[in-house]
Amino acid sequence: MKKRNEPPSIFLRFFRWYCHPKLLKYIEGDLIETYNAQVDGSKFKADFNFIVDVLLLFRPGIIRPAENRNLTTSAMFKSYFKIGWRSLLTNKGYSIINVGGLAIGITVAMFIGLWIHDELSYDKYHQNYDRIGQVWTGGQNPQTGAHYGGYALQFPVGATLKNAYPQYFKHVLMAWWFGDYTVSTEDEKFARPGVFIEPGALEMLSLKMLSGNYNSLDRQNSVVISRSMAETIFGQEDPINKTLSIDNMMTAAVTGVFEDIPRNNKFGEVKFFAPWALYVSAQPWLQKSADDWDNQMTNTFVELQPNTSFTEVNEAIKSLYKKNVPADFYATIDKYKPFVQVVPMSTWHLYSEFEDGRPVGGRITFVWLFGIVGVFVLLLACINFINLSTARSEKRAKEVGVRKSIGAVKKQLVTQFLAESMMVVILAFVMSLISVALLTPMFNQLADKEISLPFGQPAFWLIAFGFIVFTGLMAGLYPAFYLSSFQPVKVLKGVLRTGRLRSLPRKILVVIQFSVSVTLIIGTIVVYKQIDHARNRPIGYYRSSLITMGLTDPAFDNKWNTLKTELLATGVVADAGTASQPLTEIWNVTGGYTWPGKDPNLEASFGNVRVGQDFGKTVGWEIVAGRDFSPDLKTDSTNSIIINEAAVKFMGIEDPVGKMFTDLDDKGNVKWSREIIGVVKDIVAGSPYQPVYQSFYLRGSGETSVLFVRIDPSVSANDALPKIQKAIEKVVPTAMFDYKFVDDAYGAKFSQEQRVGNLAAVFSVLAIFISCLGLFGLASYVAEQRTKEIGIRKVMGASITSLWQMLSKDFVTLVIIACVIAIPAGYYVMDLWLAKFEYRTEISWWVFIGTCAAAILITLITVSYQSIRAAKMSPVKSLKTE
């Protein structure tokens, strides 16, 4: 027989695939006949013609019609939803657990999503977001090699960037730190945060100007205020050209109004912009610093030219000091390898922590953390859905059997169950939308945010839709395949027995649920414990009923004694004192000190605090050696110094009292030398998670910058405050009584951790609640399933206790397994978190034992309700049926 030549099989297959079944055999016959007629001449030509024919046959009239067009699928879906809705209604208890649990999970996930969105959109209000940066200066400790640095720049850096590197920058704007200022009209005073910055800021930040324009700050005595500030100060009046006085030192005319910047921006708190030149003109000491390369105090913001990048700019300005600092001074600082860089706006918020001089981390950790928590909580809710649907499968098994025997194929059943789970998810989603809308104010308070549901944005609905589909698939896929795989013969005969293996996936899911929940709870407890640990550490002074306020108004100069007399005369003040800075911060760290026995290579930097005569007594510091400053010794204000315990340790000397402490300038000449008269217990001024920094306290210039008033403990603060205000206003009528409780200022140090702790607490409580909800459903299912067994056992004489034990044992075992998984997981994660704090709590064993015991107890309570109910049922009733 001659060898058959085959036409190209792929095209033949293609033809068979698209051709209308009615025509297939005839046309295929025609094709093959034509092919065979040609193939003896040239196979290539025959192939080619075959292919052309197949391709040209691909046209309407020959192509098969699309599948199942004749079925109206919408009716099918309508029936799915109807059946689904009915099965929800018949099992109200389960439906509530299912939909409710899922709604809670989605609510949590939605809040976390909004929170993350808010965090990630920080500073994006500004159009030039990706080209704005702030200049940062850093260096290396020559002994340890450790990097240090910050945003405080030497005054001349700004001008140098402008003059020496003009090709890189569109704007180089020198600025002072954001601060609270007293803004006053002729008859009213307001405390408002503002910033002094060069005029280009309005354009760089792309502010929406309601009146005025981007040139409004060009005149030195001008100020641009936010709309909210204009409304509070001037009401309906036109604010333009009204005069404002700032801190009683500067006067400026309002030249513009801008729309308030949203809060999730670094500049969001700023309510007015005033020219940098105005600030400099009011601060004589700043004018003197214009060429000072030694002191760091100014800020500089920049906007890059569009054609350059941060990497390029940072490479170019790295050597700014080397090229521009006078050579003889540079020689003295060369060993610190000083450099400057521009830190991009995109890292300001989320990557605020620096390592080796690069922004590496910070809040981004929380973004990840909460993201993971959100996914987990949603997962827990989905697991509930999966567990309950598979557990309840027996109820639906008959339905599946009937559907299959009248011709339903597996695909249709999967579609049906998926449609049902979609319905549940949509229901839950609507519920959670409502609860998110209702709970947003509470959440904002908890998280310190201004978040709202972006209903108007199509992107939100798109994400919501994707979310529904994803959750619906995640929750519905397994039950759908599980339910649709029943064999009709078996289920209709009623031999669907759930053996041990059948319930294994369900058990694994319960273990996952509780592992996650218990880990979350362990985490929350450790966070709280750490906050508590730092809050309760000895801080070296008494912070209750102590108030503080800045005496920045120049009218206070040389009035301290009068003020003190007035304050004490109120009768509600126990004591009053002053210092150069607040108790809760380290403002001034200086170096270049020496003392007898100093290691010549030690870089000696100290916190440098000027304190008034009455400071120690007022705040209640504790002298551990030597004595406090004495009012009787005039020499104490020039010749004495007090150091803290950390300083003693740092200096490495014993018996410091009586030793001399000397300040040297760059060239090694003595600036001053003072006798150490006392050692004071460490005062926690910086981060409460770090060891106390070595510091000294001395009397001198600036010692009356910040006021401390100890209110008489027998008087309530509400009574005392108006009297103190009156006393202050008697001395300086223009002064603003802008006080703070030191207790609050100290508490503010914990706000971030506290907030994280609170959020974590809410989430983990919800997580365990969702898990218990699922367990409750499962327990009631098991109890129902074993009704007959329990009845027989009771007839045979089992007691309620033993039945309760039997029913609860399974679940408790699962939770114990979950605890065993959660303990190492929780330990590992929290150990990692704690490592970033130097002053940290230990993860004690009771945290684990306590959490696990609580988890088991909650499980028992959840399960017991169902198991005791089942155990108490009369056997007559349970055995009578059927």
Binding site: I27, G29, D30, I32, T34, N36, A37, P60, G61, I62
Partner: protein
């Protein structure tokens, strides 16, 4: 009035079916058109035309024999129906009318 619709290609195909009489099936129709009219006919165009005319009721088909050349696929023979005949005549008549109506001068 569009009483009988017969496209130009359809007309050729139906005429060819008539010519072939009992031997009209896909391959033979195609070969006949290609040799008589010296034009290329694609299988796709031919079969669409056949399907369309069968739908209109101008032709009918019946299964023929399956040969080895066709790998066992049956032939589909076509036959002109009474309606098809009317359509052909109608088309021819309209053509003739048109021819007759041409004034002598027009074609020189």
């Amino acid at each position: 009035m569009k009483k009988y619709q017969l496209g130009e290609f359809e007309e050729i195909v139906i005429l060819t079916i008539a010519v072939l009489y009992k031997e009209a099936y896909g391959v033979s129709i195609r070969r006949e058109i290609e040799t008589r009219l010296s034009r290329k006919v694609s299988m796709g165009a031919l079969h669409t035309a056949l399907v369309r005319m069968e739908d209109k009721g101008y032709i009918k088909s019946y299964d023929g024999e399956a040969t080895e050349d066709r790998a066992g696929r049956p032939k589909k023979y076509f036959q002109i129906t009474a309606l098809g005949k009317k359509a052909m005549e109608y088309t021819k008549d309209t053509r003739n009318d048109l021819w007759k109506s041409i004034p002598k001068v027009a074609l020189g």
